[in-house]
């Protein structure tokens, strides 16, 4: 109410003041007083009663600021551009962070959802069996409701989609709506599927008659009964394409039958916390529950499933360096603008001095300067939003254009449209930057003392120079830090790319299908024309780090860890790995998984340093705990005879270049647990892929999960380095550009301020070269300090990166030296033009003016 009255008074301010002035005039008339003095003081005091004095002065400030921008539009545009770019890049980053870690899933009460697992003394996490899940549904101490899920990938209609087998209560528990048809229900045990809205649009071309139709998933037909609501695309990091009943697991996955006699622990359980129960209390209740069937359980973990990436310590540690890099660019922009404002404010020193001597308070002046920076920050925020939209779209296109061909079909991003969190971020960022770039100059320039200021003497205060130097040094340091990071990433990429794998991967295809069809696929493909060699393998090479196994050679008692794989007899000819001595597996050995082993050259040297490896026997101790079948497959014999010696290969991550000691055990297509069929097949890529796909569709429609050329698999390993290099390079480029323009601005300003001094020097006989050197030396000096600081910073933070990414080798002299050179050259180049201008100063004219 009061606020409203105040605003109304402000609105009709002229009327208010006229009334009051009239009233006071009448009062004086009545009292017979002579009209001594003005009415200004009363007006001022009455305005204060209404609390509009400050609003009034805001109005003045804003009007004044706008007028000054109109006078120097270049300055205003420069500030808006620099800050807008900084805010825009940060908003891009925040939008991604928001989509993965902040925005909750479109489900009922997402913050009550937790994924459960338990662990024993070995620390290995355990999932759950069907019986345990059924039991947990009746155990209401911690969760009011629980659901069980399992993930797998499948190619449907030519696109690879993430599929989920889910318990019947999945849709009702999450409260997810349905766009067409019906959700999956408790009584659904048959071959039915619900398709996600996105998959319906992208994979099935928004077919209006999809509900009721049959789709083939890994060779099995399923009837589509519904299409999920557009807002919901699953609760995994990747959008889910379709959901099937849990009962269908054994048809579409290689996992052991959930309902079979072996009770596999393969269910992921997500529960909704009972209202009023804290996660800690739930944990202890669930541990008690888990102890009933697993006495060795020592703890349970609950991971929030409100967002794609749970916002915990790990997630924050991963995002932090990225955020820091982006924030640094914004800091550079701020420093730049700060310097521009400082230069401008110093040029306005005389105006400020006049205002101080007329009685303006310092707080009032600071406020006026801050008003100016806020007025610049708001359009900068708008520009930043625009820039972020452009960069997101550009980055998305770049990503889809450059990702290795085979993986473009898998690539799916979270929805990256801005929401209220993004807008709140932009607003907060712009206000913080306004204060950052406005406050320092404002405080600095209002420091001048009255007497000196009125004398026109502004040079007695050396602090602005110190502050300016500090800002330039900070800019250069940040720029150097980003350049060093870029160079390190690029060097790592070059090193990784230069690795030779020992595998001839060109024209080799990795074909994935559910294991009960693998034997048929292998036979069918072997008959295709143009197929040179074909093999089955537990793990195709180059997909990730290779697995290690502890083995005991016959001449020692302790075990040695080497990397291993299970492959069929054709593996060595598919990848053209030379058989140096002995022989490859025979078909019979492959089919029987016979107790024989083939070792690579360096494995042989490691296991039998001074002996011939052929004919030796190798002990394979059984692992202490029953291994998870998805992650480890062990041979079924305790000892194997070495039959062959082959060339070294690098089949895991390229960065583990020293891990070339590999041993091979025999296996065969059709034995459960193998991932891949590997085919060497000549011909153009597109046509070959179609031939493989057609051949497989003839066995069962939709059988291929994916068909990847091994070239693309290798390219995918290098791809993250390329992307990191691009992002770091882009940021470093922006930083360099801003730093150069910052140095240019500061040096120009300094030269114009030192006109008189330079004029005197020239008059006294200083040569052009000496003047140039004087200006350039100052900027080079600042750049040197900045570069040294940046290098120090890089050295200080590099252990963190080296710890997170083994491929990054931060202690590499080349990036540091290269960066120092680039920064120095940039600083000299930036100060060259101002230096030239200094040379053209005519001593006669400068000495005469003033």
């Amino acid at each position: 109410m009061r606020i409203w009255k105040k605003l109304r008074t402000l609105w009709r301010q002229n009327r208010f003041e006229a009334d009051l002035a009239e009233e006071i005039r009448i009062h004086r008339e009545m009292s017979g007083q002579a009209a001594f003095g003005g009415t200004a003081l009363f007006l001022e005091q009455s305005r204060e009663v209404w609390g509009i004095a400050w609003l009034e002065s805001w109005k003045q400030d804003i009007r004044y600021a706008l007028r000054s921008f109109r006078r120097s539009p270049g300055f205003a545009l420069g500030v808006i551009g620099a800050i807008g770019l900084g805010i825009g890049l940060n908003t891009t980053m925040f939008t991604v962070f928001n989509a993965y870690a902040l925005r909750p899933f479109a489900v009922h009460d997402p913050y009550g959802l937790y994924e459960l697992s338990w662990y024993g003394k070995t620390g290995n996490g355990h999932w759950f069996t069907w019986d345990q899940f059924r039991d947990l549904r009746t155990y209401k101490a911690a969760f009011s409701d629980v659901m069980a899920t399992g993930n797998f990938g499948a190619q449907v209609n030519g696109r690879t989609l993430l599929g989920q087998t889910v318990s019947g209560n999945y849709f009702s528990m999450l409260g997810v709506g349905i766009a067409q048809g019906r959700p999956l229900l408790e009584e659904d045990n048959g071959a039915v599927a619900v398709v996600s809205y996105q998959a319906w649009r992208n994979t099935f071309g928004a077919d209006p008659a999809l509900v009721g139709r049959k789709i083939y998933i890994r060779g099995t037909p399923f009837e589509v009964v519904g299409i999920a609501s557009p807002a919901f695309s699953g609760m995994e990091g990747l959008p889910t394409g379709f959901w099937l009943p849990l009962r269908m697991s054994s048809l579409v996955t290689d996992r052991e039958d959930l309902f079979g006699p072996r009770h596999p622990e393969s269910l992921h359980i997500v529960g909704r916390l009972q209202p009023g129960v804290s996660p800690e209390a739930a944990k202890s209740a669930l541990l008690a529950w888990a102890r009933a069937f697993a006495p060795d359980a020592i703890g349970v973990t609950l991971v929030s499933r409100a967002t794609s990436v749970p916002l915990n310590r790990d997630a924050i540690l991963t995002f932090l360096p990225i955020f820091a890099a982006f924030a640094l660019v914004l800091m550079i922009a701020c420093a730049n603008v700060s310097n521009m404002m400082l230069a401008r404010a110093l040029a306005r020193q005389r105006e400020i001095a006049i205002r101080i001597s007329l009685g303006a308070g310092r707080a009032r002046l600071v406020r006026q300067l801050l008003t100016e920076s806020v007025l610049l920050a708001l359009p900068a925020a708008a520009a930043g939003f625009l820039i972020s939209e452009i960069t997101i779209e550009g980055a998305r296109r770049l990503l889809f254009a450059t990702v290795p061909d085979a993986f473009r079909r898998v690539l799916a991003l979270e929805d990256l449209s801005p929401d209220w969190r993004v807008f709140a971020f932009i607003l907060a960022a712009s206000v913080v930057t306004a204060v950052l770039f406005g406050l320092v100059p404002a405080i600095q320039t209002t420091r001048s003392r009255l007497v000196e200021a009125n004398r026109g003497d502004f040079s007695s205060d050396y602090r602005p120079a110190r502050l300016r130097n500090f800002l330039v040094v900070a800019q250069v340091a940040v720029c150097a830090l980003l350049l060093i990071c870029t160079a390190i990433v690029l060097r790592s990429q070059a090193r990784v790319t230069a690795q030779t794998t020992g595998l001839d991967i060109h024209a080799v295809w990795d074909v994935r299908a559910i294991s009960r069809y693998q034997a048929q696929v292998a036979t069918r493909l072997a008959a295709e024309p143009g197929v040179e060699a074909i093999a089955a393998a537990w793990r195709a090479p180059l997909y990730g780090s290779s697995r290690g196994i502890a083995v005991i050679p016959n001449n020692r008692s302790d075990s040695v860890v080497v990397s291993y794989n299970l492959v069929s007899s054709g593996y060595f000819s598919v990848f053209r790995i030379p058989v140096l001595r002995g022989r490859a597996f025979s078909d019979a050995e492959s089919e029987a998984e016979a107790p024989v082993v083939i070792v690579s050259e360096s494995a042989a040297r490691l296991l039998w340093p001074n002996e011939d490896a052929i004919g030796q026997s190798l002990g394979v101790p059984a692992p202490a705990t029953t291994p998870d079948r998805i992650f480890a497959r062990f041979p079924r014999f305790a000892s194997a005879r070495v039959v062959g010696l082959v060339g070294d290969t690098l089949s895991g991550l390229l960065e583990h270049s020293d891990f070339k000691s590999c041993i091979y055990f025999p296996t065969h297509a059709g034995i459960p647990g193998n991932d891949s069929i590997l085919v060497r097949m000549s011909g153009p890529q597109g046509a070959t892929r179609r031939r493989i796909e057609t051949a497989m569709d003839q066995i069962a429609p939709g059988l291929a999960d994916f068909i990847n050329p091994m070239d693309d698999v290798l390219a995918l390993q290098i791809y993250p380095f390329r992307v990191t290099g691009w992002v770091a390079g882009f940021l470093a480029g922006v930083a360099l550009l801003m730093t150069v323009s910052g140095i240019y601005g500061v040096m120009s300003y300094l030269v114009s301020q030192r006109r008189k001094e330079i004029g005197i020097r020239v008059a006294l006989g200083a040569s052009a070269w000496q003047v140039v050197r004087m200006v350039v030396r100052q900027s080079a000096w600042l750049a040197t300090i900045g570069a040294a600081l940046g290098a120090g910073l890089a050295l200080a933070i590099s252990p963190v990166f080296a710890h997170q990414l083994e491929a990054i080798q931060p202690y590499d002299w080349a990036p540091y030296v290269a960066t120092a050179l680039v920064v120095l050259i940039a600083a000299i180049a930036a100060s060259y033009a101002p230096a030239r201008r200094a040379v053209t100063i005519d001593p006669v004219r400068t000495l005469r003016c003033d």
């Binding site: 109410m1 009061r2 009255k5 105040k6 009334d19 009051l20 009239e22 009233e23 006071i24 009448i26 009062h27 004086r28 008339e29 009545m30 009292s31 003081l41 009363f42 005091q45 009455s46 204060e48 009663v49 209404w50 004095a53 400050w54 002065s57 205002r355 007329l358 009685g359 303006a360 308070g361 707080a363 009032r364 406020r367």
Partner: protein, 114 residues
Amino acid sequence: MGLKKPVSHQADFLPGTLEMLILKTLSRGTNHGFGIAQHIQQVSQDALRIGEGSLYPALQRLLLNEFVEAEWDVTENNRRARYYRITARGRKHLEAEKKSFEFVLAGIARVMEA
């Protein structure tokens, strides 16, 4: 131009006393600013002289709190003046102020006599 702290308008009064006196005056009938000042001066037998500098800001405070209303009108001798009228809210406030004033006054008296 400076951002000053609100000036204390009635250094000689307890805070709020001037507003109370104005409300009391208006409770006898509507009046204009000069009339209010005259009335207080007469009744207090020249003990309390209210200057314009404190009267008008006080009236603005009362307006803002809706304790009084103001309207332009014509005086007996045909001059324009702004008349103030006490509102129901104002009367309630006056009662409350009167009580607390008496309470404080009694307290002061006790201290002075002790």
